[in-house]
Symmetry: C2
Subunit: 457 residues, 2 copies
Amino acid sequence: MQKRYIISFILFVKIGVAQVSDSTMLRTIFDFYLTKSNCYSNLEYLSTKIESRLSGSPGAAKAVSWAKQAMYDSGADTVYLQPCMVPHWVRGRKETCFTKNSKNKVIDYAICALGNSIGTPKKGLSAQIIEIKNYKELDSLGEKNIKGKIVFFNVYFDHKHLSTGACYGETVTYRYAGPSRAAKYGAVGSIVRSMSSINNDFPHTGVMGYDTSVCKTKIPACAISFSSADKLLQELKENPQLNITINMGCEMLADELSYNVVGEIKGSIKPNEIILAGGHLDAWDNGQGAHDDGAGVVQSIEVLNMFKTLHIKPQHTIRAVAFMNEENGGAGGKAYFENTKKNNLKHIAALESDAGGFSPRGISVDTTLGAFKKTLGWASLLDPYFVQYITQGGGGADINPLKKLGVPLIGFQPDGQKYFDYHHTSDDTFDKISKRELELSAGVIGGLLFLIDTRGW
Amino acid sequence: MQKRYIISFILFVKIGVAQVSDSTMLRTIFDFYLTKSNCYSNLEYLSTKIESRLSGSPGAAKAVSWAKQAMYDSGADTVYLQPCMVPHWVRGRKETCFTKNSKNKVIDYAICALGNSIGTPKKGLSAQIIEIKNYKELDSLGEKNIKGKIVFFNVYFDHKHLSTGACYGETVTYRYAGPSRAAKYGAVGSIVRSMSSINNDFPHTGVMGYDTSVCKTKIPACAISFSSADKLLQELKENPQLNITINMGCEMLADELSYNVVGEIKGSIKPNEIILAGGHLDAWDNGQGAHDDGAGVVQSIEVLNMFKTLHIKPQHTIRAVAFMNEENGGAGGKAYFENTKKNNLKHIAALESDAGGFSPRGISVDTTLGAFKKTLGWASLLDPYFVQYITQGGGGADINPLKKLGVPLIGFQPDGQKYFDYHHTSDDTFDKISKRELELSAGVIGGLLFLIDTRGW
């Protein structure tokens, strides 16, 4: 018994010392992030100096060059481009949408084409509009009532959810899959209420996909702003036979060659074991993509700068990855997975930041129960830095394919209450970024990578 | 032993049931706040329809009338005005500030007078400017170097603090007490770098006080925006003998009669025991006071609406208090204390929300250790609603006097990373408010009052 107590005591002291040392190191890491990091200025450059960077665009190509240089500047010993073929969808002319009231007055609505949608004829597409509240209603109305019409999916966020991601998750099917499901009944166009937390006049774009197993016909699909949707409902109430005209010049061009940008600092002890932090470099063309996902990109790059500036030699290889084409295809995530598999690369962890540049709130961890429990052991270290929740959950769209290789995944979760105010709109601009919030979250990401590197998983 | 186990089991079941019931009730409360509450629309009205509401102003009088009606509309069975004499300081003409460079070119700076400051002569005040980094430097330079000059307190937030409140707490003495300390050495004016988290051109006002025990002479005092302060430093570098001219038309008028607005729902079981939620109705004249502290006022009023709409009859008397004159005198808080003392009113808890309308983050509790430990028992109930921290700490400026009567105090602590971006500036406007963040924090306040009412303290 005596012996057991002594061992316990030694263990306690050892853990105690490690804990103090980690907590001191985390404090040093946060001092760096709050006073010396470049993520805010990097994000300013990416958001405001490079034009829209949707996959396949000249802006995306410029963003790739910028990320490569930024990674070198941040201390990467190697940076390389990982090729992937990406869809090249272009928005074309500014979209318009209008109805006419009983006095023949034109009422305009703010819309934007959904990513991957076909356009309308040049003179626009005019048809009667029909409001649909859910798929059940769509299916019950059927071809008899839908054929030849433009369907208006009028779905709202359920604000009872504490997570806005849950609101989005419930409704986004109407944006993504609604067009083909409407076309199946002969609809000629699809309009969806913007996936928005708030009532304003910014339409929210986002990806849609034609499902040819549901319907072979492709119809133009757009989103209407929250307040324009309300205005449209009012007009529909006054005239249930209301005709609407939408005009969209978008089209899908041939695939383009693009790249993930991968920057790394070789591990000093286990160079063949990788710890990854990533965000996606592509962003919707209508805004600056500051929150989605410029923030995740600069936070990932800043991890390199942290190791460099604090003169920490990582034991494992640290990788910052700026993924391409998260928004409308996921080609970058797939290419990264294929490359990892082909070269039999070992990742001991992959973290993704793709939920905006807001204050830290938590992480979701997708790994074995044992490793998850180890992560829970970090809770007291991370608690002072606003990490409230460590939960079991998904990693992120770009790193999720790595799960098939058994890689433990972490999804970084900042405070999400305002994310869907800006998400996929022209209002997702750099001035919506708080320097301190961005840096604190970057600090959590840097701190986590430090813990994984020193403590293993 | 057997008996003890049985008692433990019964206790466990009982606590378990109470916990489930409270947690279900909290969920109902948050459903209300996220879908039916009026705090956002109330804040819109208060911020945008009532002009600036600094104590003693016509705007403040209108705000008092509005709050009274809003409390009745929200379900108060009694609303009354609690008189207090408040200072009536007015800003007067728009402040100006300039220097001239070597080419005689005028360089303008964004400044604003500090609350309670005297003005300058109509033609302005011109003198040599001297940069001071801290009081130690001021004291060591002394009268020989300070006399006849305008002192520029060039103090920065130390961003290593995780709490912006800590940054503010360290530097605000230069705004409040700096003028008298500079006047002691013969300074003729005082300029302080704005207490700002960020680099922009909004000057931050705030209260200052002349301390006649330090110096009988009163000198004009203003704040300069962060970026103008940088510009001024540049000019000073080029010309260390630089003259500066400031022009301020502010003055202190005679005290005015004003009011705290107190709305209550009488307790059904213990009507003589009060639970209070409050914010302050007055706000600096330069902005809309949306975060500081319109948010706290509407969140406090919404507690009444919660009890009414959810048909919960509170056991204790629930009071919403819109305090007057928190910003430049604290007359409302003192009047509330005096009234409480005189009438021997029993408060079982007082909560103040005066840190902006942001996402919930925690509460600080100022009470006995026993009661604090009871509060910690609520942690798991509040954790799903983004309450990460329950700490021992202060209540708030308006309720702090009640501590002398032994009242347990709670300071509501939302996420504070952006508070000092807007604090006391013309940029503290309604458009900076997130509806969901405001409502979630209001929900925590409502939920806490429910817990205190049903569980006692």
